[in-house]
Symmetry: C2
């Protein structure tokens, strides 16, 4: 029994029977790949032969392999077996961060990377990428952006090149205040807008402000992004999930928490809107307790069936921080997001930010020009049409080919949660891995302390592929779903 593992230098202690076998096997393989004892590229024995060697069911080995393929530790290609993967750079869940290195000097070897303390190199890109969190990067409006950049560069005052206002360029704050009030019902004025390097920086700053005020606990949704929970934890704040039911996040358990982080217009990833009564209850809680509401409006531009629900912040700009971003409407690589702050918060926020503008002035001026010239609206309209068509095509194919699979949530955004019949998630993920289709299970987005039932479901980011890959991705997805 020790033979195949000795070959790989894997120190394996298996319980003889039960669910522990698969977990033990998976953990041992992961650890061996993580520490480099199983070098990238190493070919693993077939599941059949390894199962025979170990005296376990073949499915146990196949499941362990599939889990590790889904996690990125192993690579599987039909016909060439399973190998240890080159590993991916750490990136925020919900993103598909993979530095592009084409045409550049040869990368260092894994060993030299480890010696340098570097993150592991990128994994080979999946053939089809349906991980949520990024828009179709191929549709970034390069020509229009360049045009706006030219105009911004030719009209910027010299002072634009100086150290800037720590809130961000006034031109951008002014353009955003106008846009957000018109498009999202945000009560904004330029003096209350803070430009930041992505929502991550904004949330980091808010976490620091809350902590400095003595806050301990932030209520979050049962489903969300662990990067956000981790940012708050790094600031010394405990995140406590609110219950989630068919009407969305339930604010009924908001009591003495210091703040609440919500996605009211389009719950991420579940896809519903926060019910009107619950919106009111959140605001009422904030007024009663002095708690802070942080409204993450990450994809508010993209609603397909009607006008989007206005920002919660419009109900009470004194208790709600509105957070928006260019990461979904344009591109994460711009690193441009914005907060609209209650009046009494700006001073503390600037203190936590450190008093220096952190975003490049030229990108800020370009986005301001993009907004005021109408190019932003035109781009969002085109993107809305693109994503809407993708979502429609997905719904049609689901109805035709996977009628047991149900899409949840409103017609909005760049992703959808697909509920699968019980017991079918794992085979679907395994099939996806074999097809080189990157897709996430819902439970990856579940807060560790959430009491929600574990559901078989996938989160499908239909906004992610470029146009030319979309139909292939859709086909690959349908092929792995239960019929």
């Amino acid at each position: 029994m020790a033979k195949p593992w000795a070959t790989f230098g894997v120190d394996l202690h298996l319980e003889p029977t039960g669910p522990g076998i698969r977990r033990g096997l998976t953990d041992a393989l992961r650890e061996a790949a993580r520490t480099g004892r199983l070098a990238p590229g190493t070919r693993l024995p077939s599941s059949r032969s390894l199962a025979a060697d170990l005296g376990v069911a073949r499915n146990t080995v196949a499941d362990a392999y599939a889990d590790l393929v889904a996690e990125g530790w192993l690579m599987a290609r039909q016909g060439s077996g399973t190998r240890v993967a080159e590993r991916t750079v750490t990136s925020p869940p919900g993103s598909t961060a993979r530095p592009d290195t084409s045409g550049l000097p040869p990368a260092p070897t894994p060993a030299s990377r480890r010696a340098l303390g570097l993150p592991p190199p990128p994994a080979p890109r999946p053939a089809y990428n349906l991980i949520p969190g990024t828009p179709d990067l191929a549709s970034f409006p390069r020509t229009q952006w360049l045009k706006a950049a030219r105009r911004a560069l030719s009209t910027a005052p010299n002072q634009a090149f100086d150290y800037g206002d720590p809130r961000g360029r006034v031109e951008l704050r002014t353009a955003l205040a106008g846009y957000l009030s018109r498009a999202r019902g945000v009560r904004a004025d330029p003096e209350r807008v803070l430009v930041c390097a992505g929502f991550s920086q904004g949330l980091r700053i808010l976490g620091a402000v809350l902590r400095a005020r003595g806050a301990r606990t932030v209520a979050v949704e049962s489903y969300g992004l662990d990067v956000h929970w981790n940012l708050l934890a790094d600031a010394g704040l405990r995140t406590v999930p609110l219950p989630f039911d068919e009407r969305g996040t339930d604010p009924g358990e908001l009591t003495d928490q210091d703040a609440v982080l919500l996605t009211p217009a389009h719950q991420f990833p579940m896809g519903g809107t926060l019910h009107r009564d619950r919106r009111a209850a959140v605001v009422e809680w904030a007024r009663r307790t002095g708690g802070l509401v942080v409204e993450d409006d990450y994809d508010g531009e993209f609603r397909y069936d009607r006008q989007p629900v206005g920002a919660l912040q419009g109900l009470d700009p004194d208790h709600v921080v509105y957070a928006g971003t260019a990461s979904k409407s344009l591109a994460p690589g711009l690193r441009l997001a914005w907060l609209v702050l209650p009046p009494d918060l700006m001073r503390e926020v600037l203190g936590a930010k450190g008093g220096i503008d952190s975003c490049g002035a030229l990108d800020q001026l370009t986005l301001a020009e993009f907004l005021t010239s109408g190019a932003y609206d035109r781009h969002v309209r085109a993107a809305r049409l693109r994503y809407r068509r993708r979502r429609d095509a997905l719904m049609v194919e689901l109805a035709r080919r996977a009628p047991q699979v149900h899409a949840t949530g409103i017609a909005a955004g760049l992703h959808v949660v697909l509920r699968l019949p019980p017991g079918t998630e794992r085979p679907a993920l395994r099939a996806a891995a074999w097809q080189s289709l990157a897709v996430h299970a819902l439970n990856r987005y579940q807060h560790p302390e959430a009491t929600v039932e574990r559901r078989d479901a996938l989160v499908v980011g239909y906004g992610t592929p470029p146009d030319h890959a979309w139909s292939g991705a859709l086909e690959a997805l349908c092929a792995v779903l239960p019929e």
Copy 2:
């Protein structure tokens, strides 16, 4: 005696005699302006009439007014008396951060700004600005930058628009590694370069890494920037100044400090290079104790009499963090700087940075293109010539019109320290304020715990004015210097 103060609502308690009078008067006026009890625009009584009212020497009042004009609380114009200034946005010392608001909606009143928790509005710009810390912003190479941006935008892979490598774009890290090794003798490779949003972000990250390692104390130079000391203090680190003598910063007192922050190529602001023996001593200390050296090479491109001294990092890349920036060579508004890290530090630095790239990908790609196309070298050559001519002109005028004033330091950079005969600094600053010439006294750059002697000296940022204002600024400077 209370009469004029009652008019202004200023609560003044003066000691009857001695130096306390001027300080008391200055503090009371500053506090009144700061809190808004003296509203912006309020005209103060003439120094003659106030002195008579208070029963103090007229010079005492005039000196207090001049101090507050120099600090920006008051405005003085010949013929229109002294008024309470509109106040400036908080900005890093050594910068001239003043957001430009031309053509934008009317600013809120001071009262509504205070209610909003906003920083005070910008002060009127001085007619001549010789504050060090910014290059000539009017000479930013807009056309060449746009050309590089066009090329970057048209050649960028789609993945450039995604969440990026937390170290920064590989194209920029590769271009920087090549440039720094060629131009500054830095031992760099792209894997060890970290792009950051200005040296401030880099220092903030390094401070967090040091603190997480258990560090307590960072040695700094007797002269430097308080933003840097404050960033380290914010990270929980004590800054301890090293002695400074005619040979520059003395590393002899480096003992059990955890790190040292230095400007070896061009001490800021004193202007010398760190002596060869002392460079060696710093590196020797780092090797012996495991302490970290942070080399702030803020203006290494600008040396006029010979090739610049190579980076200290070249002596020992395992113990020295090299820090460079585009803030002096191009513009602070780009918010682009870079660290070259010892191999064992990258992992911790990325942890402290939070795992997400914080600089816009397009600016990074544009700077990479700017570097590799040779546009950066051409721009630096042109800028070097411009600043060298200014420095030469300054030296000629000093010799002719203020032979008692001595410029210190090497022929380099964008600023120079002018030593004045004892007792002449204050009259010079007062005269500068009346001329609307912005210039700093040296003691503003002195570490509070430094044991160096207080010297009458000005720090003159000859790089700051645009070309058309330079001769006027030089003339204004010469007019305020002692003959």
